[in-house]
């Protein structure tokens, strides 16, 4: 039987692609007998889901961060300049 260490590698791998049959079978058999890896598999799936949602969504983990004022002024100047040139 594969080790928990190997099972954890496969549990990560199945997040990215379908595992080849022998790996899927090896992981399936291990998970059947190992409560710890079943739990890790469930929790990792939940972590992955949370990261997916964080990056897909519009909410942030840096609520206080702001574009520096110097950068804003510079950008506004460039944009206005461009708009003037076109009008």
């Amino acid at each position: 039987m594969i080790t928990c260490r190997r099972a954890a590698e496969l549990i990560s791998g199945e997040q990215d692609a379908n595992l080849p049959l022998h790996q899927r079978a090896g992981l399936g058999f291990h998970a059947l007998l190992c409560a710890a890896c079943r739990r890790y598999r469930r929790q990792l799936g939940a972590v992955e889901e949370a990261v997916e949602q964080l990056f897909a969504g519009t909410r942030t983990g840096n609520p206080d961060a702001a574009l520096p004022v110097s950068s804003k002024e510079h950008l506004k100047a460039v944009i206005n300049c461009q708009l003037d040139a076109e009008s």
């Binding site: 260490r5 990560s12 939940a46 972590v47 949370a50 909410r59 574009l67």
Partner: protein, 201 residues
């Protein structure tokens, strides 16, 4: 007739004030480096300015700008990962530390106090902890892991475009996830306070 229904309205003169901070946070969450985030917002807004006649109004102005920024962020991450693509990932003590020599869990995963991080995401505190845990990942692991989530391509396709072998990619994603899982277990989902010895090690 209301023109706004047929003609998409973009107002570039207001972009910086209306969306600048939002776009900056979007970039910062993903690249972590303030200077690069600033640079990417500039690039995205200037690209949007040039491309604004292609705006069809199918999405909001902000969504449209964000999509442009997201492509810039993915390019930036691809470049970052590509730069170290040929280096083997070094041995990772943090991964080794979780397993015994014979490959068993040293300490079995604990039951979490809440099993639904998706719902936890509604809480700003959780988003901050998750973002912090992502920030604590070693740079290369983080960039690889975030690229996997920002890039629309499959893992295989990402390997090809950045020149990382599938094996090394899998190793780095696995390590990133194991660390992230551990960090969230300790800092958010753990039922019991962490033993002092574990906290300090």
């Amino acid at each position: 007739m209301d023109l706004s229904l047929t003609t998409p309205i973009l107002d570039p003169a207001t972009w910086v004030d209306a969306h600048g901070d939002y776009l900056y946070r979007f970039a910062l969450d993903r690249v972590r480096d303030p200077e690069s985030a600033e640079e990417l917002v500039q690039q995205a807004l200037l690209a949007a300015l040039t491309a604004r006649h292609a705006f069809r109004g199918r999405s909001s102005e902000r969504t449209w700008l964000t999509a442009i920024l997201k492509r810039k962020v993915a390019d930036w991450l691809r470049d970052a990962v590509r730069q170290r693509a040929r280096q083997e990932p070094p041995p990772d003590k943090s991964t080794d530390a979780l397993f015994t020599r014979s490959g068993k869990w040293k300490k079995k995963p604990d039951e979490w106090s809440a099993d639904d991080p998706g719902r936890e995401l509604n809480r700003a505190e959780f988003r901050i902890v998750l973002t912090d845990c992502l920030g604590k990942l070693p740079t290369r692991l983080r960039q690889t892991f975030v690229l996997k989530h920002v890039d629309e391509e499959s893992a295989n396709e990402i390997c090809r475009t950045v020149g990382v072998t599938a094996t090394n990619m899998a190793v780095m994603l696995h390590r990133a996830r194991l660390r992230l899982w551990r960090c969230l277990t300790v800092n958010w989902f753990g039922e019991e306070p962490v033993a002092p010895s574990e906290g300090r090690s």
